[in-house]
């Protein structure tokens, strides 16, 4: 029998995890196609190259010989058209490439919301390798880039602010919400991060929107105009960081069902036979639990890769992500979350918040009022154990048990000061007073 050829568009975490797991389970021919970079790298660490913590090579989790050794073929090409009838891809170069099974794992691009001037030179996002190269060129230091404006208060926005501040470039940060990332974080921790961003000398403007990007006679960014005040801010760089969306324009000419992303079912199948989609270019037809239909999160890409490898190797499997978790870092403050904490507690739920007197550490728990079942926790400046919280969420333990056993979930380094006692006291006090 002919060796099955699995072709994966995209060499990010989803595609690479898939390829690795297929290789472990089978001897199929595997090709990874990318026009971004020759080898897989960690997108999450792009910032550290600009900040001088790492070099490009440090971003690659596998040595270059890994791909040859594991017979993972790498193809540098940009796919222009997918023909699912003939099972063929057409590249920008005109080359035609056949597949037996196709997996779309092409990832995201950054959002633009139709602002005037959004395509000018000097406007960047921070998603791929080319964005980093462009940033290095546009903002090598504070002489070439005298001020930068960042639009969109999410995780990439704050990373970009931190990056630019390491080159002493003044940053103005426009955030639509009342507080930083307030559409995800409750106000208490959003304000904690507001303070911390300002502590790093970032000019944080809350409830502020971009009106337009003004360019000079060469089509380069000159300034931005703010919607609310009409104020015009001179700048040499505009960072657009209001989230990302699937990078799937090359599929428009195909017969694959698309919405914002490539539509898939729980088995990660698209509308076409032998075509699958994974990672943050994929959109679940039915959202899973509280998760959004498109998840631009590192680990969900990885999990979809792990799952699809089983299916493709003869062990059909549905994608069933477990309990929600995530993490991030805002300048010096680490953030982890397990289960669901919403900006405002859901109907029938309430919350408990503790903040350390230094204003840099806090935890926020949400739980059901009646049953007291624990629903989720946000933690800032204190590390917590994933395994323990995953178990507590599965076992549906009460908030009281979580507070009582908080120490067993602590993941801070040895000798660190612990705050469980203080948290427990505050919790007891809150119980009495409400």
């Amino acid at each position: 029998m002919k060796q099955e050829h699995i072709v994966i568009i995209g060499n990010g975490i989803s595609g690479v995890t898939l390829a690795r797991h297929i290789r472990k389970l089978s001897d199929k021919r595997i090709t990874l196609i990318s026009s971004e970079s020759e080898h897989f790298f960690s997108r999450t660490a792009l910032m550290y190259v600009y900040m001088g913590h790492m070099k490009w090579n440090h971003l690659k989790p596998y040595e270059d010989k890994f791909w040859v050794k594991n017979r993972l073929e790498l193809k540098q090409a940009h796919v222009q058209h997918v023909d699912t009838q003939q099972k063929q891809l057409t590249f920008e170069s005109g080359e035609v490439f056949s597949y037996d099974k196709l997996v779309i794992a092409c990832g995201s691009k950054y959002n633009k919301f139709g602002w005037p001037g959004q395509d000018a030179k000097g406007v960047i996002g921070l998603v791929n390798k080319q964005d980093l190269e462009e940033l290095e060129e546009l903002a090598p230091n504070n002489k070439v880039c005298k001020r930068a404006v960042i639009v969109g208060g999410g995780l990439i926005g704050v990373e970009l602010a931190e990056m630019l501040s390491t080159r002493n470039i003044p940053v103005t940060f426009l955030v639509r919400e009342k507080h930083f990332w307030n559409n995800v974080l409750p106000a208490e921790e959003a304000q904690l991060i507001d303070r911390h961003i300002r502590e790093h000398h970032i000019d944080l403007r809350l409830e502020t929107n971009l009106e337009e990007i003004i360019t000079d006679e060469n089509g380069k960014v000159k300034s931005v105009k703010i919607k609310e005040t009409g104020e015009v801010l001179d700048c040499d760089l505009v960072g657009l960081t209001p989230g990302v969306s699937p990078n799937i324009s090359f599929l428009k000419s195909s017969t694959i069902d698309l919405n914002r992303g490539v539509l898939i079912n729980r088995s990660l199948e698209t509308s076409e036979t032998d075509v699958y989609a994974i990672g943050d270019c994929a959109e679940q037809r039915e959202p899973i639990g509280n998760r959004p239909p498109i998840e631009a999160v590192w680990y969900t890409g990885r999990m979809m890769g792990e799952t699809l490898a089983q299916t493709l190797c003869g062990n059909p499997m549905e994608y069933k992500p477990g309990h929600w978790f995530n993490s991030a870092k805002f300048f010096d403050i680490e953030y982890q979350t397990y289960g669901w904490v919403f900006p405002k507690p859901k109907e029938g739920q309430t919350d408990f918040y503790w903040e350390h007197e230094d204003g840099k550490k806090c935890i926020h728990i949400q739980y059901e009022k009646e049953s007291r079942i624990f629903k989720g926790i946000n933690t800032f400046g204190i590390r917590l154990r994933h395994e323990v919280f995953d178990r507590w969420l599965t076992e549906k333990v009460t908030v009281d048990e979580v507070i009582k056993n908080l120490k067993s979930a602590n993941f801070d380094p040895e000798f660190f000061k612990s705050y469980e006692k203080e948290i427990q006291n505050k919790f007891q006090y809150t119980l009495k007073t409400t």
Binding site: H53, Y299, M317, K320, F325, D332, E334
Partner: protein
């Protein structure tokens, strides 16, 4: 070099050093310059003032530099622009510093007379400058080793302060740094110097740093030292026994409980220098698979070398029948001990050994046994390739001087701060063997939180690819890990934690990580 490889070098960052950083560096260098001038027989008088002044200038320079570098910044990781600086990215200044350090070690080890050592008269030059200080502490004139010890201690204490400032948010790092500063200043420097004040006509202890344990202290059981111990009565015998117990009983117990970090990054002087003065170079270690392979072969070869050398040296003087232990009895005990360790490992831990580690273990065993065989067949004197003394001299030159000093420290700015500890130190290899197979220590990975960013791997001074484990949800149990805890500090997602916990489940290799469907995790992880 392609842009791809070297992207961040093109980083055109703001000026690397500000005015105060330049001034403070100049102050420290001026202190060094005074010492150097004295090497050219420029007579600084009174010496006690000038030696104090130069040492204080170096310390004050480092202190000032640390304050202006970290004092005004928020607490957190301070690795900005490391790869833009010539000194910390193998640029011009890195090579200059490397040459200076290498040169210093070569003079120190092989040409001490150049810096003024006169063995049968008054010292001159740099060593003479240090005479008053040495007399004040130990009562004796300085030697090149006193000068070296003073500067070494100054480096650990001075750069220790810098490290404390840099990691002031991290209590593990602070305690560990206080510890290495304490052990260097007290145990490695002041106590042995002061102890030599006790020496007289019928009581003469050798220079003994209690925490410099054989085989790192490869000369600890040489005849002249053993004679001195024995001739110094109960105290001497006690110290000799302590030296033997250190390697056979004390270190295995502590390593079982805490991993080898209790020594390598909390106590040891080599580790102390690497963690403080060498901190700026920790990211330069080679992370490739091939260097890991080289490490395993090299470091274990040194262990074999030091065991054979010490056995041969001790055997050669015991064989004179002047001691209560005979040469043959000693050889039999060494062979028995090695056989017990070897058998135990092969019976209980065979599964956990990598292939080449297995070959090395077998090779080691064969070598030792054949030496013994040769001895008892009476062939040893003819077949023993080297005489004991030749072995000792070769080890002292190749390993003691060249590897640990000239290469180990001299090449900090090129190969990173732990070259000696990783590729050469026999003590680290023995503790590492215990840590890998018989210890509660591990670095725990926090479920599925790893985002493969690679900070941990980049900043691992031992060149361990920490990310390779973390991104698989696997704990890190590696013999070379010195437990410095930097991987856990630089991790932006709180994924790594150094822990001592029950040995069961310490190595938890997983195919599918926490967070994915429980059924899939079970299926994949059970079907391995």
């Amino acid at each position: 070099m392609s842009v791809d490889v070297n992207m961040s070098v093109t980083g055109n960052s703001p000026e690397a050093l500000n005015v105060q950083q330049k001034l403070s560096s100049a102050l420290g260098l001026l202190g060094i310059f005074i010492m150097t001038l004295s090497g050219f027989n420029i007579q600084f008088q009174p010496k006690i003032v000038w030696v104090s002044l130069s040492l204080i200038m170096v310390f004050a320079g480092i202190f000032w530099y640390s304050k202006v570098s970290y004092g005004h910044k928020t607490e957190g990781i301070k690795n900005d622009r490391i790869y833009f600086k010539s000194l910390t990215n193998r640029g011009f200044w890195a090579y200059i510093l490397g040459l200076a350090l290498t040169g210093f070690y070569i003079v120190l080890y092989f040409y001490p007379s150049w810096i003024g050592l006169i063995s049968d008269g008054e010292n001159t030059g740099v060593i003479a400058l240090f005479d008053p200080l040495s007399k004040a502490i130990s009562g004796n004139a300085a030697s090149q080793w006193f000068v070296y010890g003073t500067l070494y201690t100054l480096a650990i204490v001075g750069f220790g302060v810098k490290f404390l400032w840099k990691y002031r948010h991290n209590r593990y790092q602070r305690l560990r740094t206080f510890s290495v500063m304490f052990f260097q200043l007290g145990f490695a420097f002041l106590i042995p110097e002061l102890m030599s004040r006790l020496n007289g006509d019928n009581f003469s202890l050798p220079y003994y740093n209690f925490v410099n344990i054989w085989p790192l202290n490869y000369y600890n059981f040489e005849q002249y030292r053993v004679d001195q111990f024995i001739n110094s009565g109960t105290v001497g015998i006690g110290l000799l026994i302590f030296g033997v117990l250190s390697i056979l009983i004390i270190t295995p117990i502590l390593t079982y409980k805490y991993g080898k970090r209790w020594y390598c990054s909390w106590v040891c002087g080599c580790g102390g220098l690497a963690e403080t003065a060498g901190d700026s170079f920790r990211h330069l270690s080679d992370k490739s698979q091939s260097s890991w392979k080289l490490e395993r072969w090299l470091v274990h070869t040194v262990v074999v070398f030091v065991v054979i050398m010490t056995t041969a040296v001790v055997y050669s003087y015991l064989n004179t029948d002047k001691y209560w232990l005979s040469g043959s009895a000693f050889l039999i005990s060494v062979a028995s001990l090695l056989t017990i360790v070897f058998t135990w490992t092969m019976v209980y831990k065979r599964e956990e050994l990598q292939n080449d580690a297995k070959y090395a273990a077998i090779g080691f065993f064969v070598v030792i046994l054949s030496l013994l065989g040769l001895h008892f067949s009476g062939l040893i004197d003819k077949v023993f390739l080297f005489e004991a003394e030749t072995l000792r001299a070769t080890y002292g030159f190749a390993i003691g001087a060249i590897f640990s000093g000239v290469v180990g420290v001299g090449f900090y700015p090129i190969f990173g701060n732990r070259v000696w500890c990783r590729f050469g130190c026999p003590m680290a290899a023995i503790l590492g063997f215990q840590q890998r197979l018989f210890s509660k220590f591990r670095i725990t990975t926090n479920g599925g939180q790893c985002i493969s960013c690679g900070n941990c791997t980049t900043y691992c001074e031992m060149g361990i690819d920490v990310r390779a484990y973390a991104q698989k949800g696997e704990n890190i149990v590696r013999s070379s890990c010195v437990g410095c805890g930097i991987c856990a500090s630089v991790c932006p997602r709180g994924v790594l934690k150094l822990e001592n916990d029950t040995p069961a489940g310490r190595i938890n290799s997983q195919e599918v990580l926490l967070g994915n469907d429980v059924d899939l995790m079970d299926l994949v992880n059970q079907n391995k």
